[in-house]
């Protein structure tokens, strides 16, 4: 036997095993179980790093020698094998081999399925105790999303041989194919095809044809191309603070999951008020700015405070069916009440007592549109009368102006008259404006003074303020006085916890996790 080759020995072992199994002389141990795993289960044509083949045996007899023959049949039908012997260290053991490096004549040079069979030759004989298979392709994956690269590898061509690569979909060549590339000095072919967002989705076929090499199994394989998703980098709000009636302008850029900017399509923005009222705002791609853009005019009746804008999940659709995002960053902006612009004019010159001073006021919101709903009052102040006579103005939609009149009385003096117009609405939007002009009337002037009342009111307010201040200061001091905490006692209490076994265990586990992440 000593002069027999390794191949012959293996053949004899298989024959003996088959014979024993056929006549049922030595049954396999009933409780013994075998599990075969291949990692990875799919790979590309390449001899290195290969595939890890693991056989795990449970229910074994401790101290008993075990021997196995592993046989791999490649897509061309060629076979390669490896043997492993071990003495069971306990009831369970496992061993690993690398395919192809640990197998005689092993290789990964064909596309297709590689079948692995494990036969046991010691202590009992069985032609097959475990089996499995390995899938080999040209591409690194069998399914891709658009915008990701398709990485292609092939083996067993001649050194520096020029090969033709075809990728087809529905019998039509993909853009830029066929491609011609040279194998490296070892006969390996490497190629990467970056898929674009607009490629048709579905099954594609990749084929490699050698210039001189004809392989026993043709290098041809299909893969699936699917839609891709998009992500949003960040949303920009043109102004961080806006008044009601102004238009908030948003922009953002989007990227495909595999990389590259999204350059078409539309999306929906969710603009949320502080009370969570949501407005859906359409955004469209602007080729000039290369960003998605949207605008939303903030209504005069909306809430003040911090607003949020974000892209609604999965609302972005490009022109090719790709969509996303799963989630979106948000942008905050502040909304404040509208400051109304008030322009006005009134009748000037000579006014006969009993006639009216007509007042016209043009009131606009910050975006320049006419303010048409609210309360608008004019205060007409002849000389020496700082608190003017109030006149309510009404909106004249034909003129888009607020109008009203003041009847000149005998008490109104001639001179420079000041007219002030104040506008407001229930939502806190407000504004005022004033103008003055010389008005000539004949009337006596009488002045009263409320100065004493004003002083009394002011004094009372100051005194009340001081009392409240003293009260609050005392409360604050009370809180601060009671909140003296002894850090030493805190530390001692914490130490009791830190000395517990469970705390130590948790701390060690955290450190292990950190080390794991670090390495």
């Amino acid at each position: 036997m000593g002069i027999l080759s390794r191949k012959t020995k293996t053949l004899i072992l298989v024959l003996v095993a088959s014979l024993f199994l056929a006549v049922g002389l030595v049954p396999v141990h009933a409780a013994t179980q075998y599990a075969l795993s291949l990692n990875p289960g799919r790979t590309q044509e390449q001899s290195s790093p290969g595939v890890t083949v693991t056989l795990t045996v449970t229910g074994a007899s401790s101290g008993q020698p075990y021997s196995f023959l592993l046989l791999v049949t490649d897509p061309s039908g060629a076979k390669s094998n490896a043997t492993r012997s071990t003495i069971a260290p306990g009831s369970a053991f496992s061993f690993q081999l690398n395919y192809p490096s640990d197998f005689s004549r092993g290789s990964i040079k064909y596309v297709g399925q590689y079948n692995v069979n494990v036969a046991q030759t010691t202590p009992s004989v069985s032609a097959s105790v475990a089996s499995g298979h390995l899938d080999v392709g040209l591409t690194d994956k069998s399914t891709y999303e658009r915008t990701y690269p398709v990485s292609i590898k092939a083996d067993a061509y001649s050194s520096n041989e020029t090969v033709r690569i075809d990728i087809t979909h529905a019998s039509l060549s993909a853009p830029d194919f066929p491609a011609f590339v040279n194998a490296d000095p070892s006969g390996n072919v490497f190629f990467s095809w970056l898929t674009t967002p607009d490629l048709p989705i579905g099954n594609y076929n990749v084929t490699i044809t050698g210039g001189s090499t004809v392989k026993a199994v043709r290098d041809s394989q299909s893969f699936l191309l699917d839609l891709t998703g998009v992500t949003i980098r960040g949303i920009n709000v043109a102004q961080s603070s806006l008044m009601r009636s102004q238009t908030a302008r948003f922009s953002f850029s989007a990227d495909y999951l595999g990389g590259g900017p999204v350059q078409s399509g539309f999306a929906t923005l969710l603009v949320t008020q502080p009370d969570f009222t949501i407005q859906q705002v359409p955004a469209t791609y602007n080729a000039t700015s290369a960003r998605f853009e949207a605008g939303y005019r903030i209504p005069l009746v909306s809430m003040n405070g911090s607003w949020t804008a974000l892209v609604k999940a999965n609302s972005l659709q490009d022109s090719y069916g790709n969509s996303g995002p799963d989630s979106s960053p948000s942008a905050d902006f502040i909304v404040t009440p509208a400051s109304l612009s008030v322009d006005l004019n009134f009748t000037r010159g000579d006014i006969v007592i009993g006639n009216v001073v007509a007042i016209y006021s043009n009131i606009t919101t910050p975006d320049g549109s006419s303010f048409a709903a609210g309360t608008v009052s004019a205060f007409v102040s002849p000389p020496g009368r700082p608190i003017g006579n109030q006149v309510n103005l009404l909106y004249d939609s034909s003129q888009r102006k607020w109008v009203g009149s003041y009847t000149v009385s005998t008490n109104d003096p001639s001179g420079v008259w000041l007219v002030k117009v104040s506008a407001s609405d229930p939502y806190g939007n407000s504004g005022s404006g004033s103008t003055s002009s010389i008005v000539t009337v004949v009337a006596p002037v009488s002045q009263g003074s409320t100065l004493t009342l004003w002083f009394l009111t002011a004094f009372g307010a100051i005194a009340a303020g001081l009392l409240v201040g003293l009260f609050l200061l005392r409360r604050k001091r009370t809180f601060q006085h009671h909140l003296q905490v002894d850090l030493q006692a805190v530390s001692e209490e914490a130490s009791k916890v830190k000395n517990q076994e469970f705390f130590q265990s948790i701390k060690e586990q955290i450190e292990k996790q950190r080390e794991g992440k670090g390495s």
Partner: protein, 254 residues
């Protein structure tokens, strides 16, 4: 990658569950994908705030930990229930059996098992945040929840014992090298906002802990009886605004 935020307090009645529910909802309203986990095994309350009956709870985190069910089966989607259009909110109810299971786990693997379950939830639902509500005090399960978090939010009232306990929790978090952030809740109404801010900053300075913010005592919050998410039922209340500010603060943590 999912960020885990544990909300904890030394004493009970600090409003921890209310804060957890409102912050999680505010984050979701800001477009985030948020999972909320009730680990207050002794007094779970989030299901009441989220208006979920016990009959609706088919599976819990315990089943995920045991690989008995997929994460999809152990969480309750909340967007439809709460009327949230933006973001996503998922709720994982408490299970009394979680405590039992953690106790039976072999010492030395609790953290890994729990981290794996959270990661599984995070991956399944593409979560940005997992917020965990704990029960008050310092027990083994609360130490575990502190151990898995990326950030620890400590809730305290202005109360001598509570502040003392907060100091203890801060000390423990520091030993575990977990970033801690203080939220002082139910600040007495008599204090002016500026004085309250100074007071809370003083507490933070005393314990050398970051101050995330503070919330005033609110009759409106109290009268809601923890039966709803306050920021949704009282969006215009000043406290709702403070919850939103706190949510923004959470987003700023790495």
């Amino acid at each position: 990658m999912v960020r885990t935020i544990t909300v904890h307090s030394f004493k009970g009645g600090t409003g921890k569950s209310t804060i957890t529910a409102n912050l999680a909802t505010a984050l979701a309203a800001r477009g985030r994908r948020v999972g909320v986990m009730d680990m207050d095994l002794e007094g779970p309350g989030l299901h009441v705030i989220f208006n979920i009956t016990p009959e609706e709870v088919k599976h819990t985190l315990n089943d995920v930990l045991l690989d008995a069910v997929s994460p999809d089966e152990a969480v309750i989607p909340m967007n439809g229930r709460l009327g949230l259009e933006a973001g996503s909110l998922y709720f994982s109810p408490a299970s009394v059996r979680v405590g039992e299971m953690l106790r039976t786990l072999r010492t030395g693997f609790e953290l890994e098992s729990f981290s794996r379950a959270i990661a599984k939830l995070g991956t399944s639902f593409k979560l940005d945040y997992v917020m965990i509500d704990t029960h008050p005090g310092i027990e083994n399960d609360t130490l575990l929840v502190m151990g898995v978090c990326d950030h620890l939010v400590i809730v305290s009232r202005i109360d001598q014992q509570d502040i003392f306990g907060t100091g203890v929790v801060v000390d423990i978090a520091r030993t575990l090298e977990k970033p801690a952030h203080l939220v002082v809740n139910m600040v007495p109404k008599g204090l002016k906002a500026s004085d309250a801010s100074k007071l809370v900053k003083g507490i933070g300075h005393h314990f050398k802990v970051d101050v995330a913010g503070w919330l005033p005592f609110s009759d409106a919050v109290q009268s809601s009886l923890s039966k709803s998410v306050f920021i949704l039922t009282n969006p215009r209340d000043a406290v709702a605004s403070r919850f939103q500010d706190l949510a923004k603060q959470l987003e700023s943590y790495n």
